[in-house]
């Protein structure tokens, strides 16, 4: 793919949350959860980039930093050449209008005391006030865009089904003509039959409104259906980034391979692989000094007996994210040219 400039650039982004005594303790004794530990990627115009990984891998924390809901410990989020953390006043408002979000649970993301029309109109009223009649028209347009008729305007969220609520959440995200929408598990709270409707809607809107999506999801079937590129996160770091087709057809990192094998209907994980996978994710407070995946990795575990040098590297040395094919990046010692 030939992308000129990214819309959003994420550079060495880190977020460490204090745990235990946190910041009250003397500096030496402080402990931190490395929720996001050095993540770099670009989001290009009109593409869908997915962040996938297990719970606790740092996907949502990354998204919250991009939305500027929390401040990074270090690293930057760059929007139109400027560090998002530095934005103030008009520029910040413009950023907030350009980058919108749709959250997982439409039961908690809509204000139960507001009617659908004021939920959708609120961002416009705050950012780009319009005369009442025009506002009304605009809300109707937005509702039509998400497949709802003007009759729903006067209703409250509790009167809608899950699918309709999620449509309203999408309409609100579209209200300010954003260039990016962050979709945090947008269909996982919905019933199977509704998911297809919302996923098709998201695809159609992307085409007609020319939006970029950053999709956060743990269900790989959803990810494959919606994504152009996929970034796999493990314990706060990216382990593999590739175009979607390439990633699903030719996954290189053993963790990605395990994720995909687990989602395919044709492959049954054998007992030994299952035992490895079931061993728990290491603590993000004290992440392993080498590859974060080594204890669950079949390649590393097999190397323990017949390739001790390689095994030692996986335990002690952190693999770098390296471009092994055009657009396909992997952080795994197997593909490190230093060998």
């Amino acid at each position: 793919m030939n992308h000129p400039d990214p819309i959003i650039g994420v550079r060495e982004l880190k977020k460490h949350f204090p745990v235990g005594g946190g910041t009250l303790l003397p500096r030496k004794e402080r402990k931190f959860v490395r929720a996001v530990d050095g993540v770099t990627f670009n989001l290009y115009a009109q593409e869908t980039l997915s962040l996938v990984g297990e719970s606790g891998s740092g996907k949502t924390t990354t998204a919250r930093m991009i939305l500027r809901l929390i401040a990074p410990t270090s690293g930057r989020v760059v929007f139109e050449g400027e560090d998002v953390a530095e934005l103030r006043g008009t520029k910040l408002r413009r950023y907030r209008a350009s980058v919108q979000a749709v959250f997982q649970d439409p039961w908690s993301s809509l204000n139960p005391r507001k009617r659908a029309e004021s939920i959708i109109a609120e961002p416009i009223v705050i950012n780009q006030p319009l005369p009442k009649a025009e506002l009304q028209v605009r809300v109707e347009e937005l509702l039509a865009a998400v497949g709802l008729g003007p009759t729903v305007m006067r209703h409250y969220p509790h009167e809608f089904s899950g699918g309709m609520r999620q449509r309203i959440a999408v309409a609100r995200a579209l209200a300010l003509n954003p260039s990016v929408i962050i979709l945090d598990e947008p269909v996982s709270a919905l019933d199977v039959s509704i998911r297809a409707q919302i996923m098709n809607l998201l695809r159609d809107l992307q085409e007609s409104f020319r939006i970029s999506y950053l999709l956060i999801a743990h269900d790989l079937a959803t990810v494959r259906y919606l994504s152009d590129r996929v970034a796999v996160m493990y314990l706060g770091r990216l382990v593999e980034v590739a175009p979607s087709e390439e990633l699903f057809e030719n996954p290189m990192h053993p963790y990605t391979q395990a994720l995909i094998a687990g989602s395919r209907s044709t492959t049954m994980v054998d007992e030994e692989a299952a035992r490895l996978l079931a061993s728990d994710i290491p603590s993000p407070v004290k992440p392993p000094s080498g590859c974060a995946f080594y204890a669950r990795c079949p390649v590393s575990v097999a190397a323990r007996s017949h390739d001790p040098i390689f095994y030692k590297r996986t335990v002690t040395e952190r693999p770098e994210l390296i471009e092994v094919r055009p657009g396909h990046l992997v952080a795994c010692h197997q593909f490190d040219p230093k060998d």
Binding site: V192, A196, R224, Y225, A261, S263, I281
Partner: protein
């Protein structure tokens, strides 16, 4: 081994009588896994709960039908006898491992409870058995985990503990109601592999409720598709997934994304399932069905056997 015949479970509420389960029949053999699929609210869970006598009461009751375990009716059993069946012969794994464990009891106590109550084991015998069970489900260092409480365990480990409790008394039938929905993909794959291995070793029969077809394909020998309280199609897994005959099964399969199918556009099913308090007179799927005929509005279709073990309730197949 398990035979359910014309089971009907009705809810009586202010809205009237709701037919949650409306004439469901199926059987399950030793060592076999039957998948029960369908949208939320189609009666999957109520069917499962009524088999172990735990459907919500007094709101719902079994109004007709028969449930037999090894040829013996279990519907007419007394509370005490039913408790014995639940402890020794049928057990169940629920969807959410976070809420199905007691937060104030230790893991050892919870896994050991069925052993002490139903297998009359003493403390030390049950302790050894619990350690063995936890080891079978790959919980690392089980000896040291007995005195831990559920909050000290991760989600994946908790679900394995729930599995250990369900398998503790060595049941003949396990009912698993969306057991992996709350788990990450890798843990899900691991949990299913453990379950499969234990099933093979013990000849356990499993009734697997899920809406995930990739799990059905991996785990189930046969599938029954439910819609509005009825089984509309049942058949061997491979056949049903590759050549579904009922329009609802076809629509359902076309509406779910899968890793294997890529970006091919999904067809969503228009409309929503009918209210169980106001079911249509004819076929319950007729209002959403693209093949609907006059006949479908008049009477509910008969069940047609199109092959060994593959039957469909749809007038198209007459």
């Amino acid at each position: 081994m398990l035979e359910v015949t014309d089971l009907q479970v009705h809810f009586t509420t202010r809205q009237g009588t709701g037919r949650a389960v409306d004439g469901v029949s199926f059987n399950l053999e030793r060592g076999e896994t039957l998948g029960l699929v369908g949208e939320s609210g189609c009666g999957k869970s109520i069917t499962a709960l009524s088999i172990i006598g735990l459907h919500p009461r007094p709101a719902s009751r079994v109004v007709c039908g028969e449930i037999e375990l090894d040829g013996e009716s279990i519907l007419a059993l007394s509370k005490r006898e039913m408790r014995k069946v639940r402890g020794e012969r049928i057990s169940m794994i629920l969807q959410d491992p976070l809420t199905s464990l007691n937060p104030v009891l230790t893991i050892g106590k919870q896994v050991g409870e069925p052993l002490r109550l139903h297998r009359n084991m003493d403390r030390s015998a049950s302790r050894n058995r619990v350690i063995e069970l936890l080891r079978q489900l790959h919980i690392p260092g089980p000896e040291s985990k007995l005195d831990d409480h559920p909050h000290q365990f991760s989600g994946g480990m908790r679900q394995r503990v729930v599995g250990a409790i369900a398998l503790a008394a060595d049941p003949d039938l396990l009912i698993a109601d969306e057991p992996t929905t709350a788990l990450d993909v890798t843990l899900q794959a691991a949990f299913l592999a453990h379950l499969r291995a234990i099933q093979r070793a013990r000849g356990l029969a499993i009734l697997f409720i899920t809406h995930d077809f990739s799990i059905i394909a991996k785990m189930c020998d046969r599938v029954a598709v439910m819609y509005a309280g009825k089984i509309v199609e049942t058949g061997p897994t491979a056949k049903l997934l590759s050549s579904p005959e009922h329009p609802y099964t076809q629509a359902l399969l076309e509406s779910v994304p899968s890793v294997d199918r890529g970006r091919k556009r999904l067809n969503s099913i228009g409309g929503s399932p009918p209210s169980i308090y106001d079911l249509p007179k004819g076929c319950t799927f007729e209002p959403r069905c693209s093949y609907a005929m006059d006949r479908c509005r008049e009477s509910y279709p008969l069940q047609f056997d199109i092959a060994d073990d593959h039957s469909v309730s749809c007038w198209l197949l007459e």
